[in-house]
Each structure stands twice: as C-alpha cells, then as structure tokens.
C-alpha cells in the first residue's frame, strides 16, 4: 500500500459521491425515515418488566444495521461499475496497489457511514428519546465499523458478480441470514444449537451484541471491545480476500 495513492483514491471516491447529490440525500434521509416508522410501530407497545422498552432495543440494533445493508449495496454496485466501465482494468495497469483501491473504498464509504449513523442516531436520541446506558458515540463507532465490514463484504462479493442482476442477488444471500440470526428476532442463546453455531460465525451477531452492551452498560465493557475487534477483524479479512480474488490479468 502507498499512503499517497490510498489518499488520492479515497478522495476520488468521496468526490464521486459528492457529485451524486441524490445518493447523498438518500443515504442521510432513509435511515432516519425508517426509524420514524419503527418509533410509531412501537410507541403503544407495553414495556416488559425489567427489560428495555421495545423501541430502545430495536432502534439500537437498527442503528447498526442500516449502514450495514446500505453500504453493502452501494459498494457492490460501485465496484461493478469500476469493472464494466473499464476503469478497473486501467487502474490495474497503474502503480495503484489492489489494497490501495479496496482500503480506499473501505475508508471513503466508512466516512460516509459515520455521517449517516450520526444523523440517524441524532434523530433516534433527540426526536424519539432513545435511551441507552452507554454513550451515543460508541453506538456511532460500532455502526461505522459495521459499515466498513459491509464495504469489505460488498467488494468481495462483487468479484463473483458479472452483472448488476447478480450483484443485487448477493444482498439477500449475505445480508438476510445475518439479520435473521443476529439476535434481533430471537435471542441467540434461545436458538437451536446449530443455528447458534451459524450465528457464532456471522460477524453481524457480534456487532449486535456490542450495541446491546452499550444499551445496558454505562461504561464500555470488555465484551463490547472484543465484539468490536471481531467485527473489525472480519472486515480486514474480507478486504484481504477481496484483494486475493482481484486479478490483474483476465482472459
């Protein structure tokens, strides 16, 4: 990796995003709008004794989930565009390293996700009185690491997609199992043993656990830091795998 080339690539991706105002607007507005829907869905639901209010628990998990799903989609399409427009082939004839390109996407969309998560968190905390024992800064941090993971998985999956149709099909494959098994619908320790085993190897399970730790503890816990490290590690692993599947030469 070359810091100058990495910085130029990150800047280039952010400039592309800046020119696309509609995408920026969608990135910022959609999670906040969906949180509004969730708030009114749960506003009259009773709070079970000794547990957090349903909205607090679900909104907290969604704050981490929205950047995950959105950044996965955005990245898959962005990388596919690099392939089909010929820019990828051209880039690979320049001094740019494969990791410069992949980490460039990770950093650029990670930064976009911070803005997205901050706006969504602001709406949740200020407008809908989201109540977490821990700090909102940690929630945004976990959401951003989640987004970087999604970017990494999107880059990896785009290596296996030849068309936009295929790229979009990877979303349910990668995202849906992680959403179902992350502990949002059924607590993970109440699942069948084999489902729990699957859940244990899916990175989103750890980001949800980390978010719930922030929800119930005033100070960051060791479990939260461990979970965050696992999610970050999975992101780096996926980026390295993506670099390994990116070939300079093609047939």
């Amino acid at each position: 990796m070359n810091p100058r080339i990495l910085a130029a690539t990150t800047g280039r991706i952010l400039r592309q995003l800046r020119h696309d105002r509609r995408t920026v607007a969608l990135l910022v507005v959609v999670p906040a709008a969906l949180l509004t829907v969730v708030y009114y869905m749960y506003v009259d639901q009773p709070t079970p004794p000794g547990q957090p209010a349903p909205f607090d628990r679900i909104a907290l998990v969604l704050l981490g989930f929205f950047p995950f799903i959105i950044m996965f989609l955005v990245t898959s399409i962005a990388m596919l565009r690099e392939r089909t427009s010929g820019t990828l082939e051209r880039l690979l004839t320049t001094p740019l390293g494969k990791l410069d390109l992949l980490f460039g996407y990770g950093i650029a969309f990670g930064l976009a996700a911070v803005v997205q998560a901050a706006v969504a968190a602001a709406v949740a905390y200020w407008l809908f009185d989201l109540d977490t024992a821990g700090s909102s800064g940690l929630v945004i941090l976990i959401a951003a690491v989640n987004a970087v993971l999604a970017v990494a998985l999107g880059l990896l999956c785009s290596a296996f997609a030849r068309t936009e149709f295929q790229a979009v099909q990877f979303m349910p494959v990668v995202v849906a199992p992680q959403l179902l098994l992350c502990g949002l619908f059924v607590p993970r320790d109440e699942m069948a043993g084999w489902l729990q085993a699957v859940s244990d190897v899916l990175p989103l399970s750890y980001s949800v656990e980390a978010l719930l730790e922030v929800g119930s503890n005033a100070e960051p816990t060791a479990t939260m830091w461990r979970d965050l490290a696992i999610v970050g590690g999975a992101a780096v692993l996926a980026l390295i795998l993506a670099a390994a599947t990116l070939r300079r030469r093609s047939g």
């Binding site: 100058r4 080339i5 130029a8 690539t9 800047g11 280039r12 400039r15 592309q16 020119h19 696309d20 427009s85 010929g86 820019t87 082939e89 051209r90 880039l91 690979l92 004839t93 320049t94 001094p95 740019l96 300079r248 030469r249 093609s250 047939g251």
Partner: protein, 245 residues
Amino acid sequence: MQDAIALRDLVVDRGGRQVLSGINATVPHGTVTGLLGPSGSGKTTLLRALVGVQVVTAGTVTVLGHPAGAPQLRRRVGYLTQAPSIYADLTVRENARYFAALQGRGTTQADQAVTDVGLRAAAGQLVATLSGGQRSRASLACALVGDPELLVLDEPTVGQDPVLRAELWARFHAMAAAGTTLLISSHVMDEAARCDRLLLIREGRLIANDTPAAVRAATGVDDLEEAFLRMIQAGEAGTAGQEAS
C-alpha cells in the same frame, strides 16, 4: 539499442477461440507504430497483452526490457482503452488529477494534459455530460498524464473531427521525437500513412511489419488500403497453395 517492445510466439486464447496465433514482432524506441487490422483481428487483445492485463497462453511479451505487466512498468507505460475508461461522475479535471496522483504527478501536469487534448474549456464539466469524442479525449488525457515512456493507445482518434485528429497526430509525433514510443491501433487505413512503422494483423496473424514506404514498394501500389488488400490476397493464395500441395 534494445527494442521498446518484443513479442515472441505470442499466442492468446479467449473464450475458447485462438485470438492471436504466434505473433513475432518488435517495435523500436521513439517511433509511432500503427497497429492496423479489421475489427475482430486481435488488435485490442495484443494491446492488453502488452500492458499486462491479458492472460497469455504461450510466448513472451517484453516491454522496455521487462516482462509485460511487471510492477516497475506501471509508472513507465500509459494505456488508453478502446472505450473511454474514466469516471463519468467526475469532472475532466478531477479525472486527470486522480490518474496524475496515481503516477506521482501533480495537479499542474494533470491540467496540462487536459489542455493538451483540447479540453481546457470543458475541464470543469462532468464527463457524463461530454460528447463521445470529448470523452475519449478526456480518457486520452488520463493516459498522457504520467508522461510515460511507452504509450499504448487503442483507437485514440475514433470519433474526432479532422482538425483535432491532425492535432493529435502532430502531438504523437512530437512525443516520439522526444523519445516516447507510441503504439496506436486503428481500423481506419488512412491513419496508416501517418505512422513511422506499421504492424498489420488479420485473424490473429501478423501480415506485415514495415514502414509505409516499404509496404507500398513491396506491393507496387501507392494506396495503403489497396496495398494491404493485396498482401492479404497474396497471403491467402499462399495458404491455399500450401493446403493444396
């Protein structure tokens, strides 16, 4: 002096079909060499092999003394793909500055490259809003920006008006005079006369590798398109003769 490009027995298969069948050729330093042939003859595949993005079945490709695609070549070789490969959602200037940064060049060189291809007035325009000809010139600027020793250009003058085409060819020759080697593909035969040397390929085989004057002399006709037709016919008659014997 060593040749800028040396191809030995280059064979490339794509999609189960042999696209290049044993090409042997050299390109000297500081020349403008035209790679000519009908569409589908293997021009783009040959250029891709030179810049190291094509999987090669057999043979060797040596560029500036190194195997094609070697990491040390990535600063020394500029590549223009046939379809403009630049970012449609960036301005011309932003594209040039990005590709300049990849080559370790500054914004001054980037802006100069944009001026050199005649796009100074459109520098602030998004590439998506440019005409086809402007787009391919913007793409060309991104190939020129690193001031490479070897420029591999896949049909750089397609869709350009005659005045611009003449300007671009004058620039190519000025660069060659300064020591740059240029390999330029085209399927338009009237561009052949503008080259110092010609490589003619047809159906994956090299038919001619000579100067335009030598091609004219060998075939006894002045028009290069006619000369190529005769060479192709002579080649086919030769192959038919071999098959019959």
